[in-house]
Amino acid sequence: MIKIPALIGKLSPRYIGYLIFIILLIVYPFVFKEQYSLYIVINFLLYSFLGQAWNIIGGYAGQCALGHAAFFGLGAYTSSILFLKFGINPWLGMLMGGLIASGVSVIIGWPSFRLRGAYFALATIAFAEMVRVLFNHWAFVGGAVGLHLPVYGDSLSAFQFRSYFPYYWIIFIFFVLECFLVYKLSKSKIGFYWRAIKCEPDAAESIGIDTTKNKLIAMFISAFLVAIGGTFYSQLMLYIDPRSVLVRDLSIRIALVAIVGGRGTIEGPILGSLAMILLSSFIRASFGDIPGLHLVIFAIILVVMSVYKPLGMMAILGDLKSWIERRKSVAAA
């Protein structure tokens, strides 16, 4: 028989933290049953999911991709169009949307990855804007009016429910699986390739790492996951239009959660997403629904953070940890 206290004793504080976090997420929907409380945490999980997907290309591989709204939109639109026009199951549509987004990401990534620095970021922004303009005027996908998904009530196969409860579990499972995947990737050979490319692209190339190929793999996985997030969003809202799923704001927000939290770490996007959701709910609760206010405050935090702590909240936690250790060693001496 496994002795649980002994097992916990062997775990590092970091793993205990993970465990508590997951248990909290599992217990939460049973304690807070109101739809609004569920909705807030669904939002938190969705942004963690998207931020974590961006983290693969932006954090681990260090490429400042700023057009992820295009992949999100492609995911949302593909599954919705397939369902509306061809009656294809949204779950299948989700996978196809992921594959289409990944395919497009490779087509756009292959020429873009020759670009260094700001030029890569600019190319991804231009690409996302192109996709937005195209969808905005493409009558087949509803143009600027957008698409309404028909309501079926509770149906797992149609990927829609009347209550937020099942959505909560779906995004929770997606999120946990994704974090596990990213964790595994970061510990694998390719994860080390990515970090090498991020820090010293020329040195990585010279020791025989195919930088373009490895960046493309990162982009492929990242785009696939973001597209899945897009399908989840369209099934949650049952309505999409270019203004909500293809705008530059969204691309920025996706990258933002990872950057504020700490890019290139597993916990970063989760912390960043938590900060963003807490902040926006807090501001809504205390100042009412003034459009844009929470983004104004978030922008100020972002500026201060980027200037003083460019590696995000994880860097602050790291400072805190070393400060505690210093205090301990001082106390011991």
């Binding site: 400042c64 844009g292 100020i300 980027s306």
Partner: protein, 289 residues
């Protein structure tokens, strides 16, 4: 009834005139980029602020926008120095992601502040001094666009002259080319940075002030101009004022012609040119100041 040729000449001319304003917006971006090596993602927002500044001064005093232009330029110049001293100074030479996200945060801040303060309404200046248009051999020409073009060209020329002929201008170019060497020659680099950012915003303030004469103001008005400016700066070569000017005219004409063919997709060719230039010549067509 204008003939087909006159119609097409009108379209191209209108694009050319608009291109002058695009060039002016881009020159500010190019200057900041060339001197400080910072990609200003908030440039379109500063354009929007310039437009609002002129609009509100017109609204409360009734002065004509064209007379307010120098005031807007002055305000934007001072704002530029404040932003440079308060924020941008800290991100020169740091990692690219931080740079991009600080300027993106500025974009978010300014746009959402505008949204909060002034709501999503479209605002237009009524009966500006330079309004309407005239017809020449069947070609329709809009007067405010023509005047804006004239002022834009003069401003671009003045800026070019300033950078070539004055001591301060040469110092700015020296810092752009080699910061360390410039510093060793006794140039106060911080002052040059302040000045460049201020000048960059002053040009965008001028552009905004001119645009108000024939363009509605709303919180997101700058975003599309920003993409255009990025395209123009890429096309014209980073930091090159003359390249910027020519690229601005080209993009203006491209937009006008594609709008004539299909108004819904008028931005697509511009984005396509942007991507194409990036892929063919990632270092820009010309990199010099």
């Amino acid at each position: 009834m204008p003939s087909d040729t006159a119609l097409i000449i009108g379209v191209v001319l209108s694009g050319l005139l608009m291109g002058g304003v695009y060039a002016l917006v881009s020159e500010g971006l190019s200057l900041i980029w060339g001197v400080m090596k910072v990609v200003n993602m908030a440039h379109g927002s500063f354009l929007m602020l310039g437009m609002y500044t002129t609009y509100w001064i017109w609204y409360f005093t009734g002065l004509d926008p064209i007379l307010i232009t120098p005031i807007t330029m002055g305000i934007l110049f001072l704002l530029g120095i404040c932003v440079q001293k308060g924020i941008v100074r800290h991100i020169i030479g740091v990692s690219l992601v931080s740079q991009i996200f600080v300027t993106f945060a500025m974009w978010m801040f300014i746009n959402n502040l505008a949204l909060m303060l002034w709501k999503e309404n479209f605002r237009t200046v009524m009966n500006p001094l330079i309004g309407g248009g005239f017809s020449m051999v069947g070609v329709q020409i809009s007067l405010p666009k023509l005047v804006s073009f004239g002022i834009s060209v003069s401003a671009a020329f003045a800026l070019w002259l300033f950078l070539r002929r004055t001591k301060t201008g040469i110092a700015i170019r020296a810092v752009a080319q080699d910061k360390k060497a410039a510093q060793l020659m006794g140039i106060d680099v911080d002052r040059i940075y302040n000045l460049s950012f201020g000048l960059g915003l002053a040009t965008v303030g001028l552009a905004g002030s001119l645009l108000v004469n024939f363009f509605s103001v709303y919180p997101y008005v700058g975003d599309i101009f920003h993409i255009f400016a990025l395209t123009i700066v890429t096309l014209g070569g980073f930091g090159s004022i003359s390249g910027c000017f020519i690229a601005g005219l080209v993009i203006g004409i491209v937009e006008a012609i594609s709008a004539f063919i299909n108004p819904a997709l008028k931005y697509l060719p511009v984005f396509a040119i942007f991507l194409l230039i990036l892929f063919i010549r990632p270092e820009g067509l010309r990199e010099s100041l």
